[in-house]
């Protein structure tokens, strides 16, 4: 009899862990700690670590349960299911990659545990009307939109596209073409390339022969450096190089000042933007981890903060969902509000930033309300 009573008590404790006031809020965090995306995953981990520390200082105790998906959607889904069933978390932040986030998002409504996607760009994730899926960062179509808005005032007439033959490359260029059409830009060259080639000169020569005002590029990591090197070699000088994220926003790229100077790119966050705490986050991050924070770090930081603050005031995942839906925040990612607009559900209409490399440093140049520096246009060697 005693045994039975004890087990009932134990079961009750397991079922209502939130009733114990001293217990920290349990939040899951799915990230690419290993695998191909591990380099960026590390930035997210660092951002999360800082968020937990800052929350602790504010008196919010968080138990962050970290899961690794290795960049594989299968693992991401398994991690989400483990977090919601075995760990009984209030909410989940992550996963990082679009592929993983998209798969996990499709199950969030089934388990009714809110998922906050910090940095995945695929539009689809918040376009299916999922009630429990929230996204902090701007989706992929904003990349090209904000870049073209930034140069609109200078009245460019022609544009050329050079991009990797990947999901990200093709879909970004597709929306870029729509935006270019709206601006009245004429497309004069369209070069899709296979990644990892040593010689891009033939494609770039074709672009040079078309003499475009704008060259719009989508490339990953090192390809961005190779392309810009070979562009310099063959003397391709448009009025502006527009790099849509990825390879054009890394510290490694900025260090190649000879080829990267004045390249314009779109990003979710910079440390010189005038959002509250952004600069301070940048400095603290640099002292703590010894390197520049990427936008992923800021996204993870803010996502964990929003999730934990909302969760600490909510009794269960359903209440947390309402809190996320109703709330609005302002922090290092600027104003945050999860809204339904133009086909998106629970999507933060995050204002993306345009940055330009000036003397080896990324400087925010657009929109004017968030930036201190001005865009250098036309591009010069």
């Amino acid at each position: 009899m005693k045994k039975k009573f004890a087990s009932i008590v134990a079961a009750a404790l397991l079922a209502f862990p939130m009733l114990l006031h001293a217990a920290p809020v349990k939040i899951g965090f799915i990230n690419s700690i290993t695998g191909k995306e591990a380099q960026i995953g590390e930035n997210l981990t660092n951002g999360a670590t800082m968020a937990i520390e800052d929350l602790k200082a504010k008196g919010i105790q968080v138990e962050l349960i970290k899961e690794d998906d290795g960049g594989d959607p299968k693992n991401a889904l398994a991690a989400y299911e483990k977090l919601v069933t075995r760990d009984a978390v209030m909410g989940v932040v992550g996963p990082y990659t679009s592929g993983c986030a998209n798969v996990v998002a499709s199950r969030a409504d089934q388990y009714q545990v809110p998922l906050l996607v910090p940095a995945a760009a695929k539009e689809e994730i918040t376009m299916k009307g999922y009630k429990n899926v929230f996204r902090l960062n701007a989706p992929a179509n904003v990349y090209s939109m904000v870049l073209m808005d930034a140069v609109k005032a200078y009245k460019p007439k022609t544009i050329a596209f050079v991009y990797a033959a990947t999901d990200f490359g093709v879909s970004t260029v597709k929306t870029a073409q729509e935006n270019a059409l709206k601006m009245g830009l004429k497309e004069v060259a369209n070069e899709k390339y296979q990644q990892g080639q040593p010689d891009y000169r033939p494609s770039l020569s074709k672009v040079k022969a078309a003499n475009p005002d704008l060259v719009f590029l989508v490339s990953y990591d090192a390809d961005a450096i190779l392309l810009m090197r070979q562009a310099k070699e063959i003397g391709l000088t448009p009025k502006a190089f527009l790099g849509a994220g990825a390879g054009y926003t890394t510290a490694q790229f900025a260090q190649q000042t000879e080829i990267s100077n004045f390249v314009v790119s779109a990003t979710q966050w910079t440390d010189d933007v005038n959002w509250a705490g952004a600069a301070d986050f940048g400095t603290r991050y640099k002292t703590k981890f010894g390197k520049e924070p990427s936008y992923h770090a800021a996204c993870a930081y803010e996502a964990i903060r929003i999730m934990a603050e909302s969760a600490s005031k909510s009794k269960n995942p359903a209440a947390l969902r309402s809190a996320l839906k109703a709330g609005s925040w302002s922090g290092i990612m600027g104003p945050v509000k999860f809204a339904d607009y133009s086909g998106f559900t629970n999507q933060n209409n995050h204002p993306m930033l345009v940055q330009q490399i000036q003397n080896g440093k990324y400087e925010t140049v657009y929109p004017a309300t968030f930036s201190k520096k001005k865009l250098v246009y036309p591009f010069k060697r």
């Binding site: 380099q39 033959a165 033939p202 022969a209 063959i234 000879e258």
Partner: protein, 289 residues
């Protein structure tokens, strides 16, 4: 300009491909082994050049003086320790062994150097000679091409004039007969594998300044090297040289006149056509293999 520019860059890039193909062809000729670790040996060459540059501050092209003997020794030991055990075994065993060695190398590199691509930036990395007519030639690419030519010339003289070279060729023509003539074929195999490794590492080091350095970078070049070998005729050094340049030019031309998407299609259609008409490859000897 739209014709000459890709032609030139195709020839120069093809020259570097050729060096990768020649090492593989030599190993196949002498040992009758398809070395699937060739791409990973190239990757090791890339990292050697990178570390020579960043840690010892040696120009990547000068560092070849160090890389060549190091890689030769490494290849020689690899042959003595592993490869010679499968030399008279079926092809599938040899392929498994070399693929395995390659996997160990690339994954060790992943562990040691992480998957962050490294970029080797020299003072002349993005400089070019401008020729009249708006044509430009990349300085590092031209240097890589010239060094490739010098190495091929030295290799050619070595193979045709020196007694070791002749012994290597004899082993390649007929292993048993060479042994009966008193040639130490086991030693020749080790030397051939050493030279093959040295050529692979050199090709890697020559590509390093114009490409990026990554633990898996060798894999894309392995397929190219293999195509070049078969196209030129397995075992033929001259064939591999010509094959490399042909592939470089075809790639550049098809990306100019068709689209970059189509260049691999064009390369492999051409490859199949050559094999249909000359199964032994462009310079291969009939009935050899």
């Amino acid at each position: 300009m739209l014709f000459l520019q890709p032609l030139l860059s195709g020839i120069l890039t093809g020259g570097v491909y050729a060096l990768a193909g020649i090492g593989m062809s030599l190993v196949f000729g002498v040992m009758n082994i398809s070395n699937f670790a060739h791409g990973d040996l190239m990757m090791l060459g890339m990292y050697l050049a990178y570390f020579a540059f960043t840690l010892l501050h040696i120009d990547p092209y000068l560092s070849l003086v160090l890389i060549l003997p190091t890689a030769f020794l490494f290849g020689y030991l690899l042959e003595k320790l592993f490869i010679n055990r499968v030399i008279n075994h079926p092809h599938q065993n040899q392929i498994l062994l070399t693929i395995g060695l390659g996997l160990i190398m690339s994954n060790t590199a992943l562990l040691a150097f992480t998957s962050d691509p490294k970029i080797l930036t020299t003072s002349y990395s993005s400089s070019a000679f401008n020729l009249p007519g708006g044509i430009s030639i990349s300085v590092p690419l031209l240097l890589s091409f010239l060094i490739t030519c010098i190495i091929i010339a030295i290799l050619y003289i070595f193979l045709s004039k020196s007694s070791t070279g002749m012994a290597l060729r004899a082993t390649s023509q007929n292993r048993e007969a060479a042994q009966l003539m008193g040639i130490n074929v086991a030693k020749m195999s080790a030397i051939a594998f050493g030279i093959g490794t040295a050529l692979a590492a050199t090709a890697g080091a020559l590509i390093a300044p114009i490409y990026y350095i990554h633990p898996l970078a060798g894999h894309s070049f392995l397929l190219k090297a293999f195509t070049i070998c078969v196209l030129g005729g397995l075992g033929s050094v001259v064939g591999a040289g010509v094959g490399g340049i042909v592939i470089g030019v075809v790639e550049a031309m098809s990306s100019t006149y068709l689209s970059t998407d189509w260049k691999d299609v064009v390369v492999f259609v051409l490859f199949l056509a050559v094999l249909l008409m000359r199964p032994q490859g462009l310079f291969g000897k009939k009935g050899g293999q």
